[in-house]
C-alpha cells in the first residue's frame, strides 16, 4: 500500500441523542476512556494507513473539533503532502438554495481531486473501532464493486431499532443498508451484520456520485448518497472483528466506557497494531494519597485522588477528595468531588463540581448525567438530570 493512496472524509455531522453531552459539542469530540475523543479513532486509523489528506466536514459546533485537531500534527496531518482540511458547517435550510447545494458537493469533489488519492474512505466518529484500512483496501481491490461497506457481526440483543444493518448476500456483498426496524428479522438470528458507517470507495466512482447528486434537483447528504450507492451497486462487504461501540445514546456511551474497564477490551482497542493517537497535554502525574482506594479503573494524568474510585473512567485533572467515593461512573476532565460525597452510576461532564456530603446516583441502565461546569452544592432534583 502506497502512502497517500487513500484520502479520508470524516463526516462529523452525525446524529445521536446524547442530551446535554452533545449540546455544545458534536459526538466526535466526546471524551472517551479517560484519555481520548471519539474522533481520535478514525484519525488514528487514517494516520496508520499513511493517509495524507483528510477532509473534516464540520458540525455546527465546531470549536471543540478545531481545538482538538489543530494542525493535525498528532496524526501526521501536518506534512506538506497533504493535511487536515476543515470544511465549514452548512445548515440544512441552506440546501434549498441551489448554489449552496452545488457548493456542498463541490467541497467534497475539490478536496478529493486535490488529494490525488485513487481511493477514499468515508467515516464518522460515533462508531468506535480500531480499523486497519490497509486490510480493507486489500479486500476492496479484490472485490468487484467500486464501494466497500464495513460491518461487524453482533448478537441481536446489541441491535436497536434504528441501528443500521447491511443486507448481505451469499457472495459477501451487501445489497442494502437498512435500519434494523426496516428489516424483516426472524428473531432467531444468532448474529446480525451491524453496519459501521464506514465506506471505502474508488475515488473516481465517488466523484461520479457527487456529480450526479449535484445535477439532481433535490438535496441528499453524503451518507444518503452512499446508502443509495450500496443499493444500486452492491457493495463489497468487509467484516470487522475487533472492538466496536456505537455511541448514539447516553446509555451506550456509558456502557462503552464501562466496557473499557475490562482488560480484554482495553487491550483490543488501545493496544492493537493501530496505536490510538491523540493530542497530548502537558499534565503532571496523577497523585494517589495515603488511604486512597482505587480499583478496576482508568485514570488520566493530572489527577489528585484522596478518596475511593472503583469501576470508573476518570479523565485528566480530576480531584476526588478525602472520603469521597466514585463508583461505576464516567468523570470528565477538571471535575471535582468533595469530601464525603458519593457518585455512582453517573456521568460527570467537564468541570463539574460536587460539593461535600452529597449523593449523586443514577442506575446502570440510566446513568445520571451532570452537564458541563455544573456545580452541585445541594441534593439534586434528579428527575431533571436523568432526562437531560
Amino acid at each position: 500500500m502506497k502512502k497517500g493512496e487513500i484520502a479520508a472524509i470524516i463526516d462529523l455531522n452525525e446524529d445521536g441523542a446524547l442530551g446535554s453531552l452533545t449540546a455544545a459539542r458534536p459526538i466526535g469530540t466526546l471524551p472517551f476512556a479517560g484519555r481520548y475523543r471519539l474522533i481520535d479513532f478514525p484519525l488514528s486509523a487514517v494516520a496508520r494507513a499513511n493517509v495524507y489528506s483528510v477532509g473534516l466536514f464540520m458540525p455546527r459546533s465546531s470549536r471543540s473539533v478545531q481545538d482538538h485537531v489543530r494542525s493535525g500534527e498528532a496524526w501526521n496531518l501536518d506534512l506538506i503532502q497533504g493535511g487536515a482540511f476543515l470544511f465549514p458547517y452548512v445548515a440544512t435550510r441552506d440546501y434549498a438554495n441551489a448554489e449552496l447545494r452545488t457548493r456542498y458537493y463541490d467541497n467534497y469533489s475539490q478536496f478529493l481531486r486535490r488529494s490525488g488519492a485513487p481511493y477514499t474512505v468515508v467515516m464518522g466518529a460515533r462508531n468506535v473501532a480500531n480499523i486497519d484500512l490497509a486490510a480493507v483496501l486489500a479486500y476492496h481491490k479484490l472485490g468487484s464493486s467500486s464501494i466497500t461497506a464495513l460491518y461487524k457481526n453482533v448478537t441481536p440483543n446489541r441491535v436497536r431499532a434504528d441501528d443500521p444493518l447491511l443486507t448481505l448476500s451469499e457472495l459477501s456483498t451487501a445489497s442494502a443498508v437498512l435500519n434494523a426496524s426496516q428489516q424483516s428479522l426472524s428473531g432467531h438470528e444468532e448474529k446480525l451484520p451491524r453496519f459501521m458507517e464506514v465506506y471505502l470507495l474508488d475515488t473516481v466512482y465517488l466523484l461520479d456520485l457527487l456529480d450526479q447528486a449535484s445535477a439532481a434537483g433535490e438535496f441528499a447528504r453524503l451518507p444518503e448518497l452512499l446508502r443509495d450507492a450500496v443499493l444500486e451497486q452492491n457493495a463489497n462487504a468487509f467484516e470487522y472483528t475487533g472492538y466496536l461501540a456505537l455511541i448514539n445514546a447516553v446509555d451506550r456511551y456509558y456502557q462503552a466506557n464501562m466496557r473499557m474497564l475490562q482488560e480484554r477490551n482495553f487491550q483490543s482497542l488501545l493496544y492493537s497494531s493501530i496505536p490510538i493517537l491523540t493530542k497530548s497535554k502537558n499534565e503532571v502525574p496523577t497523585f494517589f494519597a495515603h488511604e486512597s482506594k482505587v480499583s478496576g479503573s482508568l485514570l488520566g494524568t493530572g489527577g489528585f485522588i484522596e478518596g475511593s474510585v472503583a469501576r470508573s473512567v476518570i479523565s485528566r485533572n480530576v480531584t476526588v477528595h478525602r472520603g469521597a467515593v466514585v463508583e461505576d461512573s464516567v468523570v470528565m476532565q477538571g471535575s471535582k468531588i468533595s469530601n464525603g460525597s458519593l457518585v455512582r452510576h453517573a456521568i460527570l461532564d467537564k468541570g463539574v463540581v460536587i460539593g461535600p456530603n452529597l449523593v449523586i446516583e443514577g442506575t446502570a441502565e440510566a446513568p445520571l448525567v451532570l452537564s458541563k461546569n455544573q456545580t452541585v452544592f445541594k441534593p439534586l432534583d434528579q428527575e431533571a438530570n436523568t432526562h437531560a
Partner: protein, 397 residues
C-alpha cells in the same frame, strides 16, 4: 543587542539570549560515571525524572517560560536519545522560525577534527553558530538541574549592574558550602573571589553553573586565549578566574527556591522522592510556570482490582496490578499482581513481574524485573537496575 546588526529578526531583548547546555562531566567523552549504569547509553539530561519528565525538561521549560527563543544544546556523549527527545523544540514551544533549538555536537572543519574539551571550549568551537544570531548576551546553563527559574530577572540585574558576567548563586548552609564553587561578594553583589570547594568557606553563595555573559567580551576572551595557546577550557576553572583577574565586572545573582543537582544516584533518588510530596516546593502543578515535556499519546492509566496505591505518582500508559507505596511510576510501566514497590522511582517502559519486591531503588528504562524478583536497596545505598537490564526470573513469553 548588538546595535542592530542582528537585523530584522531581533524583536525583543530576550531574543538575544542563548541557552547553552554544558554538561560538565559529559563533555570530554567521560560517561557521567556518577550516575553509573543509568548513563551508560544516554546523556544525563535525558535521564527520566518525576514520572513524566526528563531532566532537561526543567531547563528547556525555564528557557521557554523566560522568553528565550534560541537555544543551542551542546552535547557529545551518547546524544541519540537526547536528540530524539529535544527534536525541534516544539514540545517546549521553542520552534520559532529563525530561532529554535539546535543540537551542537562535535564536528570537523578545514582545521581538523576536535571533540569538546570542556564547557568553555565547547562554546569556542561553536562561535560561528552563536555569531549567526548576533546576540548581545549569552546565557550558559547546565542541563542536569531540577529547578524553576526566570532567567529574564537575572538578565535584568545583569543589565542594571552593567556586568560583563553574572553568575547564578544559591545560598546553601555553611556545611554544604565546602562541596560547591563558592562566590565571595562585596556589598554590591560584585564577586571579588571564587573558591572551588573551599575547606573554610567565607560565604555560602554556591555557583549554580548559570552564567550570563556579554557575548562580545566572552568571544574576545575565548578567541584570544586559543590564539595564544592558553585556551580557556572550563567556565568554573578557567573563565571566571580570568574575568576576576582582569577585573571584569562580575556579579552574583542570588536565586531562592527549590534547586537540586541530580548528578548522583542518591541525589536523583532523593529529588524524585521530594517531587513525590503532594506539596513539593518545586510547585510542579503551577500553571503559570509549566514544565513541558515531549508529547506522547499513551492510553490512560489502568488500575486493576488487585492494585493498591498509597502516596504514589503514576502517569498514563501504566498498568498497575500490584501495590505502590511512596513511589513514582513512569509511562508504560507494567506492575504485576502481588508486586510491592516502595520508595522507588520506576522509569518508562519497565516491566515489573508478579510478586516482585522492590524497595529504595531506581529501575531504568525498559528494565525487566521477572516474577518473584527482588531489588532491595536502603536509604544509603539505592539499588539500581540499568536501562534494559533484566533481573530475576524472566516472565514467560
Amino acid at each position: 543587542m548588538t546595535g542592530g546588526t542582528g537585523g530584522g529578526s531581533v524583536a525583543s531583548e530576550k531574543r538575544g539570549l542563548y541557552g547553552n547546555r554544558n554538561v560538565g562531566d559529559d563533555l570530554g567523552g567521560r560517561s557521567g560515571t556518577r550516575l553509573g549504569k543509568l548513563t551508560k547509553s544516554t546523556a544525563k539530561p535525558s535521564v527520566p525524572f518525576g514520572g513524566r519528565y526528563r531532566i532537561i525538561d526543567f531547563t528547556l521549560s525555564n528557557l521557554s517560560n523566560s522568553g528565550v527563543d534560541t537555544v543551542g544544546v551542546i552535547t557529545q556523549y551518547q546524544p541519540l536519545e537526547l536528540n530524539r527527545h529535544v527534536q525541534n523544540g516544539a514540545s517546549w514551544g521553542l520552534n520559532e522560525r529563525g530561532a529554535g533549538v539546535t543540537i551542537l555536537q562535535p564536528y570537523a572543519s578545514s582545521e581538523g577534527e576536535k571533540f569538546f574539551e570542556g564547557t568553555a571550549h565547547a562554546i569556542y568551537q561553536n562561535i560561528a553558530y552563536i555569531d549567526s544570531y548576533a546576540p548581545e548576551y549569552l546565557l550558559i546553563l547546565s542541563g542536569d538541574h531540577i529547578y524553576k527559574m526566570d532567567y529574564e530577572q537575572m538578565l535584568a540585574q545583569h543589565k542594571a549592574k552593567k556586568a560583563a558576567l553574572t553568575v547564578g548563586v544559591m545560598p546553601v548552609s555553611m556545611d554544604e558550602a565546602t562541596r560547591f564553587g563558592i562566590m565571595n561578594t562585596d556589598d554590591t553583589e560584585r564577586i571579588i573571589e571564587f573558591e572551588e570547594k573551599p575547606a573554610k568557606p567565607k560565604s555560602n553563595l554556591a555557583s549554580m553553573g548559570i552564567y550570563i555573559f556579554n557575548w562580545d567580551t566572552l568571544r574576545r576572551y575565548l578567541t584570544e586565549s586559543y590564539a595564544t595557546g592558553s585556551g580557556l577550557e572550563d567556565f568554573g576553572k578557567d573563565v571566571i578566574p580570568a574575568y576576576l583577574a582582569h577585573n571584569e565586572p562580575t556579579y552574583a545573582y542570588a536565586f531562592h527556591g527549590y534547586w537540586k543537582d541530580v548528578g548522583t544516584i542518591h541525589s536523583l533518588w532523593e529529588a524524585n522522592m521530594e517531587f513525590l510530596s503532594p506539596h513539593n516546593s518545586l510547585n510542579i502543578a503551577d500553571r503559570s510556570w509549566r514544565i513541558y515535556s515531549q508529547a506522547d499519546a499513551n492510553p490512560p492509566l489502568f488500575v486493576t482490582t488487585s492494585a493498591t496505591l498509597d502516596r504514589a505518582m503514576v502517569v498514563d500508559g501504566a498498568f498497575i496490578a500490584g501495590t505502590i507505596i511512596h513511589s513514582i511510576i513512569s509511562r508504560n510501566v507494567k506492575v504485576g499482581e502481588g508486586a510491592v514497590i516502595k520508595d522507588t522511582m520506576v522509569m518508562p517502559d519497565a516491566v515489573i513481574g508478579k510478586n516482585v519486591h522492590i524497595d529504595h531503588a531506581i529501575i531504568g528504562e525498559n528494565a525487566v524485573v521477572g516474577d518473584g524478583g527482588e531489588v532491595i536497596g536502603t536509604e544509603n545505598e539505592i539499588a539500581v537496575v540499568g536501562y534494559g537490564e533484566v533481573v530475576g526470573r524472566r516472565e514467560k513469553e
